[in-house]
């Protein structure tokens, strides 16, 4: 039957092609990400320690610090050179850009290459500018009161991210241009990573011993290197796991197809054997047939990988360039693995006695293919569930990281928020205050809002009530804040007005009092007044604008009865249902207009997705990768189930024709086939779901994501297998039922 034979070849080849494409893309993705990571490590000096001023500590810095750290660093093993930076700020004249004072060797230590010109000389009235200011080269400019000559332009560097994000718009001035200054950052370059790591601990101890208000860190980590590594590890693992699942499905499809094709040729092989061909020769011929199929499939995989590449990149924003190396390796892998699915078929072919084969008969027909159809089904459901569970768990984890901030909420912050591991730079950010909040409430925009709140944020360096010197963030909020912030009460209640109560984050409560329960009723001394802890809340696991983090303290702003000068305001709004998102932009424009100055950046609405961009990046890429892969696996699994169904019907076609001859209608036969198969599919689907849960559990544990199973979606996924099976049977039936009974009876 040519249609069946052709469909077997097509299904097997397309399964190989899909699997090969996924493998090629996986290896390609790994190569690309490794190359990106290596390039980043080359771009940023990987052997540099950064000693930063700790603004949360109020100790004074003696003028000797610069000299002492130089002397200390010079006696450390592997120390190479030291660069300094200080006094970052924004110009208040017509050039509204960020400027920083740096030593000339800062550019080599930070690996900031020149685009044009040269580096300034120490103490000279000269400047080097970022790439965005390249037009200033050769000109004289006035920056922060200094009239300087622009002698150099840096190459574009902002794309490196992290602390280099603002470099392209920065003006660099000589460190000593204004005489004696205190360093904000000291960069210590070492000969290699090992000596840098040893020096890290020594410098940390030294800073502590000398009581200098500085912290030490590894410069590379400011680039979110750990997160980037984790992202690649996670994505790599996700891709590899899915590739393996896809390969299992491919192997089963290949087994079924090669088996069916073997049956098609059994009479021919019987004749060949009768004419003198040995069993080994026949096995070789069967192997050759499969090898051709593998080669065609793998070549198709290369085409598919090229087609899928932009699709994959579009959905996941993850570069997965399919290289020749990736294609070759995936080909070798598939060829090797395929041996396991083809060899039982070859062995079966070799075992068939010529006297039976010549009549188109076989000693036995392995029934393993039905079992394999179920494995395909379970695998497909498992892949779908891995995707569902991980997507939900990651979403839950985002909530944990960012607080349960709703999607219809926007935050307008005084802070220029960058990244967790970058410096937060409030300069140039519009100083939102309580009058902005009142103005918004009194504007027509408020009609579109469901709730509005205001928070003043303060750093508290220590309080007498704490066991040890703990720094924390205090938020003085307006009434609606609890419902907008996404913070959740875990113990006690929100503060009541006029009673000078406070609520603390669970993380802080545990640090201060050992556990949440002990915190309730305890007193805190804040701004000279005693506050009683009325409750403990669970908020975001890290501080971001708008959201209450679990290491913060909240009080009612009305109880504070004043606005302190160092407070920075945040306005949080929730739009009414059905009001378009445009309202957030209109509010941003309204607030920007109230602080319309070239010194300030425009006020932007921060939404849930804008918080912790690198985390969102990991999440969306991971989730999208899994979605795309699980879709591909489902396609493979569906193809496999169609193959199995066609094979099963193909073997039963004669029987079906007999049944029809004795009076069975097509519908009766269809139902007789459909009901048990659908029943089996329904029974086995939960196994797939369980497998999916198990795989997800491993991934979730490995990446420490918050566990969350979307039960409804998992339950819905169980309906997919009976649906696929019934579709497969129905379509296969349509192929065979259209043939006359006589034609069916003639089928061998």
């Amino acid at each position: 039957m040519n249609v069946v034979k052709a469909s077997q070849i097509i299904i097997a080849a397309s399964s190989i092609a899909l699997s090969s494409a996924i493998f090629t893309l996986t290896i390609g993705a790994y190569q690309t990400s490794q190359a990106e990571l290596s390039k980043l490590l080359d771009d940023i000096n990987n052997n540099v320690l950064i000693v930063q001023r700790d603004w949360t500590v109020s100790s004074q810095v003696t003028p000797d610090f610069e000299r002492e750290i130089k002397e200390y660093a010079e006696q450390l093993d592997g120390f190479d050179e030291l660069a300094l930076s200080a006094g970052g700020g924004r110009s208040t004249n017509k050039f509204s850009y960020y400027s920083i004072l740096v030593t000339p060797n800062f550019f080599t230590v930070r690996n900031y290459p020149l685009h044009k010109g040269r580096i300034f000389a120490s103490g000279a009235k000269e400047a080097v500018v970022g790439y965005d200011h390249r037009d200033l080269l050769g000109k004289r400019i006035s920056v922060r009161g200094f009239n300087v000559h622009v002698v150099g332009v840096l190459k574009p560097l902002s794309r490196r991210g992290g602390p280099d994000r603002l470099v392209d718009g920065t003006v660099f001035l000589p460190y000593d241009i204004r005489g004696l200054t205190t360093p904000v950052e000291v960069f210590l370059k070492f000969n290699d990573k090992r000596t840098m790591e040893i020096a890290y601990g020594e410098i940390k101890n030294w800073l502590h011993k000398m009581n200098y208000p500085y912290t030490v860190g590894v410069l590379a980590e400011l680039y979110g290197l750990k997160i980037r590594k984790n992202l690649r590890r996670t994505l790599g693992g996700a891709l590899l796991g899915m590739s393996l699942i896809a390969t299992i499905v491919m192997l089963i499809n290949l087994y079924s197809s090669s088996f069916t094709l073997a049956i098609h040729r059994i009479r021919e092989w019987g004749i060949r054997r009768a004419l003198g061909a040995s069993g080994r020769k026949i096995k070789f011929e069967a192997g050759l047939q499969n090898l051709r199929l593998l080669i065609i499939g793998h070549m198709g995989g290369a085409v598919l990988a090229v087609i899928l590449n932009p699709v994959f990149e579009y959905f996941t924003d993850f570069k997965v360039t399919p290289t020749l190396f990736a294609w070759t390796v995936s080909g070798l892998l598939i060829l090797t693995i395929s041996f396991f699915s083809i060899s039982p078929v070859l062995s079966w072919v070799g075992q068939q006695p010529p006297y039976l084969a010549i009549r188109g008969l076989a000693t036995h027909i392995p029934r393993a293919r039905n079992f394999m159809a179920l494995i395909i089904l379970i695998t497909g459901i498992a892949a779908l569930n891995v995707q569902l569970i991980l997507k939900n768990s990651i979403e839950k984890h985002t909530e944990f990281m960012l607080g349960n901030l709703a999607n219809d909420v926007a935050i307008y912050s005084s802070f220029l928020y960058l990244k967790q591991q970058s410096l937060t730079d409030p300069r140039g950010a519009a100083p939102l205050n309580y009058s902005d909040f009142l103005a918004l409430l009194n504007s027509a925009l408020a009609d579109h809002l469901d709730a509005v709140s205001y928070v003043d944020n303060y750093y508290i360096f220590s309080t007498k009530s704490f066991k040890s010197d703990i720094q924390f963030f205090l938020r003085a909020y307006e009434a609606k804040y609890p419902e907008l912030s996404g913070a959740r009460i875990v113990l006690g209640r929100w503060p009541a007005q006029g009673r000078f109560e406070t609520i603390v984050g669970s993380q802080l409560a545990q640090r201060m009092f050992g556990d949440n329960t002990s915190a309730i009723g305890k007193k805190l001394k804040i701004f000279g007044r005693t506050w009683t802890i009325s409750g403990v809340f669970q908020g975001a696991s890290r501080p971001t604008p708008g959201t209450a983090a679990s290491d913060q303290v909240l009080i009612l702003r009305e109880d504070l009865k004043r606005t302190l000068p160092n407070g920075r305001g945040e306005i949080i709004v929730r739009k009414k249902p059905n009001v378009p998102d445009k309202i957030f932009e209109e509010i941003a424009n309204f607030l920007t207009a109230r602080h319309n100055s070239s010194d300030y950046r425009p006020v932007n609405a921060l939404r849930r997705r804008d918080l912790a961009p690198e985390l969102q990046d990991v999440i969306s890429r991971l989730a999208d990768s899994y979605s795309l892969l699980s879709l591909l696996i489902l396609v493979l699994a569906t193809l496999g189930i169609f193959t199995q169904t066609i094979i099963n019907l193909r073997f039963k076609i004669r029987e079906l024709s007999i049944r029809r001859a004795v009076g069975a209608t097509n519908t009766q036969i269809w139902l007789e086939t459909l009901i048990p198969a659908t029943f089996l599919a329904t029974m086995f689907a939960p196994l797939g779901a369980l497998l999916g849960v198990a795989i997800s559990a491993v991934v979730i544990k490995a990446y420490q994501i918050t566990w969350n199973i979307p039960w409804v979606q998992v339950a819905l996924s169980l309906t997919i297998s009976p649906l696929i099976i019934s579709c497969a049977i129905t379509i296969a039936f349509k192929i065979f039922a259209n043939k006359s009974i006589v034609e069916q009876m003639r089928t061998e």
Partner: protein, 223 residues
């Protein structure tokens, strides 16, 4: 009374672009209670004619009437019902389902009539007794001899008390002793109310029928 009628029936097989005419304008009436043998050389279209008569194949042109109704105008489920209640087939290759026991094979037409399982078994055992195989009721086809398999096939054809029994070379795969047993069975068991049509190329078997027609070059001729 006319049971079935073929009017100007043509059957053409297509092999790629080549057309092979098998039946060329057959006109044939079958009355109730007739015993007809159809003979002819190999490839003359005997089996094709039988298949068209049994409503398991369709003519390329012309009409087939069963009880005066045009089969070409019937839906597939109507044809299945007509076969299931009125026509019994006996094939040269027996065509038993290997996964079913002898009694289950015999009971198959009743299964599709919707007869309860218990009744199916009762009736199947009755018919198996008539063909002398009641003691082999629980055996699978692979455990039976060729003659026994064909007796099971006859039992399956007769279980519905068919108006028309169509036997396509029923002894083609059997030795002479078994052939005689099978023919005797068919002739004995097909009642006066039933019509028996046997396709054969054996003149001895053909001569046992009350009426013999020859199919030569796609056309019927009285022998």
């Amino acid at each position: 009374m006319v049971l079935a009628e073929l009017k100007n029936v043509y059957k053409v097989y297509r092999k790629g672009k080549i057309e092979i005419p098998v039946l060329k304008g057959i006109n044939f009436k079958i009355n109730k209670g007739e015993y007809i043998s159809i003979t002819g050389p190999s490839g003359a279209g005997k089996s094709t004619l039988l298949h068209i008569l049994g409503l398991i194949d369709k003519p390329s042109q012309g009409d087939v009437f069963f009880f005066g109704k045009n089969a070409g105008e019937m839906y597939d489920h109507e044809l299945s019902r007509l076969r299931g209640f009125n026509i019994g087939f006996v094939f040269q290759a027996f065509n038993l389902i290997p996964d079913l026991k002898a009694w289950q094979n015999v009971a198959l037409p009743l299964h599709y009539q919707g007869v309860p399982k218990r009744k199916q078994k009762e009736r199947a055992l009755e018919v198996l007794e008539r063909v002398g195989l009641v003691d082999r009721a629980n055996h699978y086809p692979a455990e039976l001899s060729g003659g026994e398999e064909q007796r099971v096939a006859i039992a399956r054809a007769l279980i519905i008390n068919p108006l028309l029994v169509l036997a396509d070379e029923p002894t083609g795969n059997l030795d002479s002793l078994n052939s005689e047993i099978i023919l005797q069975l068919l002739e004995d068991l097909v009642t006066q109310q039933s019509t028996l049509i046997i396709v054969t190329h054996d003149p001895n078997i053909a001569s046992r029928a009350r009426k013999t027609v020859r199919l030569i070059d796609g056309q019927l001729k009285d022998a």
